[in-house]
């Protein structure tokens, strides 16, 4: 029995709009890998790669919208749809791709946790085992939802990049010029970071996560208008933050000729705003987003895989009832934490390279999604328009092309 609800809903409406599934997955997208990749891009190339971010932004909004639309129209998650439409073999293929990509991202998240706490001077050999155990405990207790909102709130720290970017007084003419004029280098490093930029903004796991969240909320096709705005707004916010991370890093690190070798270096981009407290603020934001990611990713992977194969899943199940489910998220946490504990591993490199891996794997998932989004039987009148197909095929083919060039360049060393 509840107090009459309507006024409550009215009060909550604004909040729900802000924190719909689209917004949550976008905020979770600016995680350890994202922050590191954008910082390195800003530090190494200044504003020169902003044009690509604009294209990636359009791609993100389009892909997330398609994903949400599929969830609303079919009422099924992405792994359900892949299984039902493509059968067991293709599902196995898709799930291996997803698992590899998610392992890479989980490693990046743990690297983010380690890097953020090292700013406070605590060694990773202490922080990583403790957080890994804590995350495992949160998941198995099913209490992670309580902390989820808290950590999403922490992610709002990233908005400070916008102010910091403005206060750093970049050369706006140059920024604008680089936003619209493409710049490309046929060098392995450039291509790797370009793939990472796409792969960290548009991740495979986010598509599975977003579509399931949409299905879980039970939106009906006629209510879709509102949700569409949540998804598009989420994409816009994510890209605006990424844009300002690059601008802030470009205006501070690049002009000073500083390369990002550790989280401390990346934190300098916030110094125009908060001066010497930049490291603290950066560490807090990085910790929040990395912790959130390190909790969501193992769990999200375990759900997607178990659902695709019809295996028992769910936190409320016992270990003996859902052994694969428990094994999967536990293994992901162990691998994520384990890799970061290897001595002499550069945390920044781990964060960036994992995003390149994501970018290389993304086209496969995108092709599955495109085939589903164009399936008349499933989507009816809501199937993709020509614009969507052009943009998303464009992104997928561009990534494949970049990957081929990267492979070629690493063989020939040009």
């Amino acid at each position: 029995m509840k107090a009459p609800r309507a006024p409550f809903y009215k009060r909550m409406w604004f909040f729900l709009l802000i924190l719909g599934p689209g917004m949550v997955s976008a905020m979770a997208g600016n995680d350890a890998g994202g922050t590191a990749t954008y910082s390195v891009i800003g530090a190494n190339y200044g504003f020169k790669m902003l044009w690509l971010l604009v294209i990636v932004g359009i791609g993100l909004a389009t892909i997330q919208e398609m994903c949400a639309r599929m969830g609303v129209v079919t009422g099924k998650g992405l792994s359900d749809l892949i299984r039902e439409e493509f059968g067991v073999r293709w599902t196995l293929f898709a799930m291996i791709i997803l698992l590899v990509a998610n392992i890479a991202v989980t490693i990046a998240e743990f690297a983010g946790i380690a890097a953020s706490l090292e700013i406070f001077g605590i060694t990773r050999y202490l922080t990583i085992p403790i957080t890994a155990v804590f995350i495992w405990w949160l998941i198995t207790k099913g209490t992670y939802r309580f902390v989820e909102r808290f950590f999403i709130a922490v992610c709002f720290i990233y908005f400070s990049y916008i102010i910091s970017g403005l206060m750093a007084k970049p050369d706006w003419a140059l920024v604008l010029q680089n936003t619209v004029v493409p710049h490309f280098e046929f060098k392995a490093n450039f291509i790797m970071i370009a793939i990472a930029m796409i792969g960290t903004t548009i991740t495979p796991w986010m598509q599975f996560y977003l579509q399931s969240s949409i299905v879980e909320r039970g939106y009906k096709t006629r209510q879709y208008g509102m949700e569409r705005w949540d998804v598009i707004l989420g994409a816009v916010v994510a890209v605006v933050i990424a844009y300002f991370i690059i601008v802030a890093c470009g205006a501070t690190l690049h002009t000073a000729g500083i390369q990002v070798h550790s989280a401390k270096d990346a934190a300098l981009a916030l110094s125009p705003l908060v001066g010497s407290s930049a490291a603290m603020l950066f560490a807090l934001g990085l910790f929040g987003s990395s912790f959130l990611g390190a909790t969501i990713l193992p769990l999200s992977s375990a759900y997607a895989i178990c659902e695709a194969f019809g295996l028992e899943n769910g936190i409320s199940k016992k270990l003996s009832e859902a052994p694969v489910f428990f094994f999967l998220f536990t293994a992901l946490i162990l691998i994520g934490a384990g890799v970061v504990l290897i001595p002499s591993v550069s945390l920044i490199n781990v964060m960036v390279i994992s995003q390149t891996a994501n970018g290389i794997l993304l086209p496969f998932i995108l092709i599955f999604m495109l085939l589903l989004g164009n399936n008349k039987k499933l989507m009816g009148e809501h199937k993709n328009s020509a614009f969507y197909n052009i943009v998303i095929w464009g992104i997928a083919l561009f990534l494949i092309l970049l990957t081929i060039i990267l492979l070629f360049s690493s063989l020939v060393h040009f």
Binding site: A3, R5, E84, V215
Partner: protein, 422 residues
């Protein structure tokens, strides 16, 4: 006629079809299934000819079915092909990889493979493979994995569920009207039905819910998460919603209506009639997490001057509507709570005895503002079926029954937040 006694449907995919004299005709694309009780039969094969055309060959025209090839009765030019029709039920297209309900386990599972068996002259679909073995077979590595695990003396067990123990859904991908009634689900316990509803996709949620009787629907509804409750009530028509709600105790009605959009809630309240509307509104005025929010106003009370016989007569009259009759409360003229006696005490007493002689005056009560946790504690500490809720002046407002608070101690599975992830 048929070569096998038992085989898996997946083994027939892309098997060559030849005619009487071994001339190639095409390849098996799908199996046409006709639903019959208790086991569906394979009524035909959908084949792709070498020219790329799709036809159905009815089972009567087929001489042999095997894992190596399928042979027809006549020669190629004399096979009576039937045109491919979309509204048929196809095994690979419509059953493979889809969700079904395991009735005995009351859970939702995915079809990995189907087991076919020869029964007299027809091929029947007898069981669903839901285990790892079916997955490995589909991937094509069943033999390899068997051999590898065999080295360690491990065997993968078959996990088959008889077709008579499953329920298939009418998935949205059908173009034609294939109606599969949810008979078997409706026979389950409402709590199991709720568990299944919470696990399936939204379209199927509504389909299952619609097929339930009003009474089962009412009981299942209460077991579901508020979000799903609201979704279901909004998708069925108002008349059916009203019939379902009328079957629910007022405290549960208040629960459910509290989660609906105001307009819809008001509409249903109006239709419920003034008496129930008043009660529900009263309940809605208490905050959710207090005793007042948990209680039902449907309890049985008698005035102090009643005899045992009077009480039993009254019970017969009102019991059908009351949520619980295990306790009878004694109220004075101002509806203040004086005493209580149990059904047991009532029945063992002589008819002429005054209730004042059998009642207990040392009552455990809770205040309408008390927190739900305190209410649960009192009920569990004193092993009560229900506890009366009173206001500041000891006026009796309602009762909280043990089933209203058991959720705070043991949340039911179907209400546990399933998840929101991948």
């Amino acid at each position: 006629m048929v070569l096998f006694s038992e085989m898996y449907a997946s083994k027939l995919k892309r098997v060559a079809v030849v005619d009487r004299i071994q001339e190639p005709v095409g390849k098996v694309k799908d199996l046409v299934i006709t639903i019959t009780e208790p086991y569906p039969v394979v009524s035909g094969l959908l084949i792709t000819t070498n020219a790329g055309k799709e036809y159905i060959i009815l089972m009567a025209e087929i001489d042999m079915i095997g894992q190596q090839f399928v042979a027809t009765r006549t020669t190629k030019d004399r096979i009576p092909f039937t045109n491919h029709r979309n509204h048929e039920l196809y095994a690979f297209r419509d059953i493979f990889d889809k969700q079904i309900v395991d009735i005995n386990g009351a859970r939702v599972i995915r079809v990995n493979d189907l087991k076919l068996a020869k029964v007299e002259q027809s091929v029947n679909l007898i069981a669903v493979d839901v285990g790892a073995r079916g997955l490995l077979r589909r991937i094509g590595i069943e033999g390899l994995v068997d051999w590898l695990l065999g080295l360690f003396k491990i065997t993968i067990p078959e996990r088959l569920i008889g077709w008579d123990h499953v329920e298939q859904f009418q998935t949205g991908s059908h173009l034609g009207p294939i109606t599969i009634p949810h008979n078997r689900i409706t026979e389950l316990h409402p709590a199991d039905v709720a568990n299944i509803i919470s696990q399936v996709h939204s379209e199927e949620k509504t389909a299952i819910f619609k097929s339930l009787s009003d009474k089962t629907a009412a009981e299942a509804l209460h077991e579901l998460e508020p979000k799903i409750q609201a979704m279901l009530l909004l998708t069925i028509d108002t008349k059916k919603a009203l019939r379902i709600i009328e079957k629910m105790p007022v405290d549960e009605i208040a629960d459910v209506l509290g989660d609906l959009p105001q307009e819809k809630a008001n509409e249903l309240l109006r239709l419920l009639g003034p008496r129930k509307m008043q009660k529900v509104k009263e309940l809605l005025s208490h905050p959710e997490e207090t005793a007042g929010g948990l209680m039902t106003t449907e309890f049985i009370s008698v005035p102090l001057h009643f005899s045992v016989e009077d009480t039993i007569l009254k019970l017969r009259e009102v019991a059908p509507d009351a949520e619980t009759i295990y306790y009878v409360y004694v109220l004075d003229n101002d509806e203040k709570l004086i005493g209580v006696f149990s059904l047991r005490e009532l029945i063992i007493a002589q008819p002429q005895v005054k209730i004042s002689q059998i009642m207990t005056t040392n009552l455990k009560t809770v205040d309408s503002d008390d927190n739900q946790k305190e209410v649960a504690d009192i009920i569990s500490k004193y092993n009560l079926f229900s506890v009366p809720v009173v206001d500041k002046n000891n006026k009796m407002l309602g009762i909280v029954t043990v089933d209203d608070v058991v959720d705070f101690i043991l949340p039911p599975i179907s209400r546990r937040k399933r998840h929101i992830l991948g």
